[in-house]
Symmetry: C2
Subunit: 329 residues, 2 copies
């Protein structure tokens, strides 16, 4: 099979490594020609996962049309804010039988669409799209450490077969909405738990926040038509736990730095890569309002990021909410 | 209110501190007279949470009958293997109106009873028992860091009111079985994720194990009559995440040491305190067989602890299982 990954950030690079590792002729689209050239010459991404040697079967191409035309399987790993534009450009080059696999996480700002809805609108019909989400730090996938992900769609077979390897297992579900919401919203909760850890609230508080975080993600997902049980799976609980407890998470690092008193602008300047949770906090907050779903953690993170609310006040408002039964908001 | 906590280990000491902190005249039963005397003289537990100064309103008593007779609220925090015997001795001393709150976690070996079932059999009728479970490292509670727990029972009001403080929040549920199973089985999963981390499998693998761990705990709980949604709450997911990711967890440390190649006997000798997961792995494994529930992680941890199965083989058998859909075992 011939595979193409769009987007040469950490996650796109890791997925391309996995596809090449299991034997597919793999193209990694890097829109920067200089970097694409260096990848092909040095067999190493000069900017992301720089410690990892790339497999022989992987080559980079800065030409979007040519990269897309190569693909039997097209994987998207560009940031969420770029997906619609990239998909629109890719459309005319995509082979009629090619499958599309989406690894971009987020809720599009403005339209409030999931990444599945973006691709369905701009690229191919729903039945040709598979979402690939789940607990997966790019560096660990690149280093072939054991990873389990979930593939969601009407026909997940092709994507699952393409990625499947001894240390990379794909489990399937038909709950596209649940996977999209779970995989995207966890980044907001990673900021929240990062803030709590940055302030030094402790492990008990973090576990409580993760639990309440999954509850509010589930409310939003169900309001959009998801099966609540999906939230107990890899794209719900699994990805949430990974992102909220692992220091490789960019979103968690944003929260930690906020908790330590840095400003958002400082943090984003130092990070140098997109932290999807920052924009998802905005789009999820709007989506919750639109659907009438109570999301107190998302609400406080939105206030912290976009309304200059002081960290102490946001945390106090969050921890101090009165709630009597576990099933309440 | 007059409160008594049975068991002066880390958790019993922390709960007694919390009760004294919010103003109750609190007795901590330490069966060791020398240690009880030192607690009263030095206002510090000489063996557990040694860094924490105990409140004035807390005193220790080595006399079980006198300690129990003191209580309007009796809290049990002895190890699971000792609960039945301690409860039987306490029975004749307990005031007729006293409420009982159980903070002991585990599944009794041999009888395979939950701690609620043990107390119901040996001490008071079900309606007088409240379980107090949830994500709570003792040291953090002792230091008054924010903590949220769940109280489960027919009438949780008295226990919830007794413990409730600004940084210690009690949420109620009526799903006693779900709370008992969730709060006990997480210790087995903590050993499993500890082993994986000890071997160096990485954060992706740990998140996958936690996800599958919650799924198998849920299967067992549901087979015993629990509501699956309880598993998404503080005594399910919350406590599981805390125990599987926080290095203060004794059970996790057992797993880490196993993963690093130590023998169980070495580890238990060094630990010096009960790791409930070791006995729960045995009782849960039997309970799963009795109820016909598939529990692959518990099965491998049982084999590792009790059948001398090598760590590498147990992990390989665990990670290598073929599974296609998220909802499968």
């Amino acid at each position: 099979m011939r595979a193409t990954v769009l987007g040469a950030g950490s996650w796109g690079t890791a997925l391309a490594i996995q596809l090449a590792r299991v034997g597919h002729e793999t193209v990694l689209w890097d829109r920067n020609p200089g970097r694409a050239e260096r990848i092909n010459r040095e067999h190493r991404n000069p900017r992301y996962l720089t410690s990892v040697e790339l497999p022989e079967a992987l080559r980079a191409d800065p030409n979007l049309g040519r990269a897309v035309a190569h693909a039997d399987l097209l994987v998207t790993a560009v940031p969420s804010h770029a997906l619609a534009a990239v998909a629109a450009q890719a459309k005319e080059h995509l082979a009629p039988q090619a499958a599309v696999c989406c690894a971009t996480k987020g809720i599009e700002d403005g339209t409030l669409r999931t990444m599945h809805e973006v691709l369905e609108h701009s690229l191919v019909p729903s039945e040709r799209i598979t979402m690939l989400y789940g607990p997966s730090f790019a560096l660990e996938v690149a280093n072939n450490l054991p990873t389990a992900v979930v593939v969601a769609g009407a026909d997940t077979h092709r994507a699952a077969e393409a990625f499947h390897g001894q240390n990379f297992r794909c489990y399937s579900t038909d709950d596209v909405v649940g996977v999209c919401v779970g995989g995207s919203l966890k980044n907001v909760m990673a900021i929240a738990t990062g803030v709590a850890d940055g302030v030094g609230l402790g492990a008990n508080a973090r576990a409580g926040l993760i639990t309440r975080g999954l509850a509010e993600i589930t409310r939003l997902a169900v309001a959009k038509g998801a099966n609540p049980l999906t939230m107990m799976g890899l794209a719900g609980l699994g990805d949430l736990v990974l992102t909220c407890t692992g220091n490789l998470s960019r979103n968690r690092r944003v929260g930690l730095a906020l908790g330590e008193g840095k400003t958002l602008q400082q943090i984003l300047d130092e990070l140098g890569e997109v932290a999807e949770g920052v924009s998802t906090a905005s789009s999820a907050w709007k989506l919750a309002a639109q659907l009438g779903v109570e999301m107190p953690i998302t609400h406080q993170i939105h206030a912290l990021l976009y309304e200059d609310k002081p960290v102490e006040q946001a945390l106090a408002d969050l921890m101090g909410r009165t709630r009597r039964s576990e099933r309440d908001g």
